[in-house]
Point group: C2
Chain length 331, copies 2
């Protein structure tokens, strides 16, 4: 294993300090915790907290800032953050209008975020949560009952964040977040596995001509392995599985995300995007906005995921609203 | 080789179409050419054109937009664009106030951009150019007489772009660009080599415990190979070589860029950034702004470069000015 780290034991700690050093205009770290919150402190609006295991950067700390998250909790690599860390985040961002937790659907994440919700509720803080389960690849997986939450989560951050910034109440922000969750689906693939630093070797081995379809964001198994083919064919498979959900029809307007897994050259993501546009255009699905880049990664994994979000006027308005965070700036 | 492509022969063509499909609000492609220009066409200001071989995404097309470039010319992978392509870009972006070419110092790039400059001058277009040579690693290299132009080029795009947007004349924009070039230095390293698609195998082989220091952005050799050590030690070596230039002193204000080479997890870049801040803080060098991410990549190469830009009031003003491009948004 060749990693640009100092010690496997302090990766998350050093990463968070490195993010804070890079972006003091956006984020500060809660002293003694693996939590990033907005540099300017809580404000008079519903606050959003997300997080999960580390290794998905820029998720989630990169999305803390105006128009998106108020706090992000970082667990160890691919490990759920503990309830006390989440609880501290909730207390720190609460501005009196309530706190919404945005949870990716992994058993540990759901359990720990819900425990933190109970702890904060006992303190009199109004807390609610939503669970993102956008991955159509598998119904249950290594660490999940039900579908996994992957790159579609970033759309929840963006749109619920804009709704909160617009002054909506907690129940309204939650309603908007749940609409995104209803309308968003993703599926990914890997060319090469990622290496968790503490493990020191790739989570699985693929042959020189083999790829994994339906992979999650922790190197957990996908639907199947197959021989590598051209990226148009691979993109077709991901989109076909998403379209089989029956959510997206001719005439619909969507947002599209081509998300890199961390080790994938941007060049290749753009080539996949070209074909995704052709396929969706051919089906009469109108792409209102496209995002191409590393949003929800899996350490050094090479591969990509496709995410489709069906838009209505409300979601479109909040998607297009300004956001100013380390990893997502839009005006 | 496992790449997410369709054919090695049409990578650049498909990538450019994929970028245009993703970001029609920012860029359009000149029909029949590997050139991206601003979607809104030329405006009444000095126009900036850059480019070079492909494989460095988001450079250079990702920086076309308000406050940065007006046009970007994409050569084949790691191959200089031809003079006729550059000439077409110059003609397309010219708004009557002159065109500045921002060239990275590679022999082929310099020759072809200068030929295009001559062709456009013959048409009566006022064209000038600057050459970026920020890489302190080696004085001459495989494809260079003199130092190579690497990630520091992005600061030239940003600052000269803001100067042009502010209405400065061509000679003034050129003066500002040259001030950036005088004040910017970079150095990089690689953990793993990149694979040029047409070659089908890595450009060089590193042992399992070996890294290359002083690498360029095409997998060309660096200063030396050594055993991998912790990232703090590696970062020290890059910064020491940059500081040996004698440009950056206690009390100076700088911008810092920790640039990923394409295959490097953001997590690792943040860890390097933490130490870079500690080292520079310790020397009394004030970091006014930090950029961490993939700005000037080398396909799937794993590694990073450090760039320091010494600021004065003028450079700081233009660095902090708004920019709105696919890969760099700042307000």
């Amino acid at each position: 294993m060749k990693k640009l780290i100092n010690s496997v034991d302090n990766i998350v700690d050093e990463m968070l300090d490195g993010m804070t050093a890079a972006f003091p205009q956006y984020v500060k770290r809660l002293e003694g915790f693996n939590v990033l919150v907005r540099a300017k402190g809580p404000s008079d609006k519903v606050a959003l907290v997300s997080g999960g295991g580390s290794g998905h950067e820029p998720s989630h700390g990169g999305f803390v800032g105006r128009g998106m998250l108020d706090g992000a909790v970082a667990g160890e690599v691919f490990t759920s953050p503990t309830p006390d860390q989440i609880y501290e985040a909730v207390k720190a961002v609460n501005g009196g209008k309530g706190v919404l937790l945005i949870i990716k659907n992994y058993t540990g994440d759901v359990m720990n975020f819900e425990m933190a919700e109970d702890m904060a509720s006992d303190d009199g803080i109004t807390v609610s949560h939503v669970i993102v389960a956008d991955d159509v690849a598998v119904e249950n997986s290594t660490w999940t009952t039900g579908r996994r939450g992957i790159a579609g989560t970033v759309f929840v951050h963006k749109i619920a964040g804009a709704a909160a910034e617009a002054g909506l109440t907690l129940s309204e922000v939650k309603r908007v977040a749940e609409k995104v969750i209803s309308n968003v689906r993703s599926m990914g693939m890997a060319v090469n596995a990622c290496t968790v630093p503490a493990a020191g070797k790739p989570g699985f081995e693929l042959e020189d001509d083999e790829i994994e379809i339906g992979i999650g964001i922790h190197g957990e198994p996908g639907t199947h392995r197959e021989k590598i083919s051209d990226v148009n064919n691979i993109t077709d498979k991901l989109i076909d599985k998403i379209l089989a959900e029956g959510i997206y029809s001719s005439g619909d307007e969507i947002a599209l995300m081509i998300n890199g897994m961390g080790g994938t050259p941007l060049m290749e993501l753009f080539i996949a995007n070209k074909h995704a546009h052709e396929v969706l255009d051919g089906k009469g699905i109108k792409i209102a906005k496209t995002y191409v880049g590393n949003y929800m990664t899996s350490l050094d994994m090479e591969g990509f995921s496709v995410t489709l979000l069906k838009l209505d006027d409300e979601l479109k308005k909040f998607l297009n609203a300004p956001a100013d965070t380390p990893a997502f700036v839009q005006f």
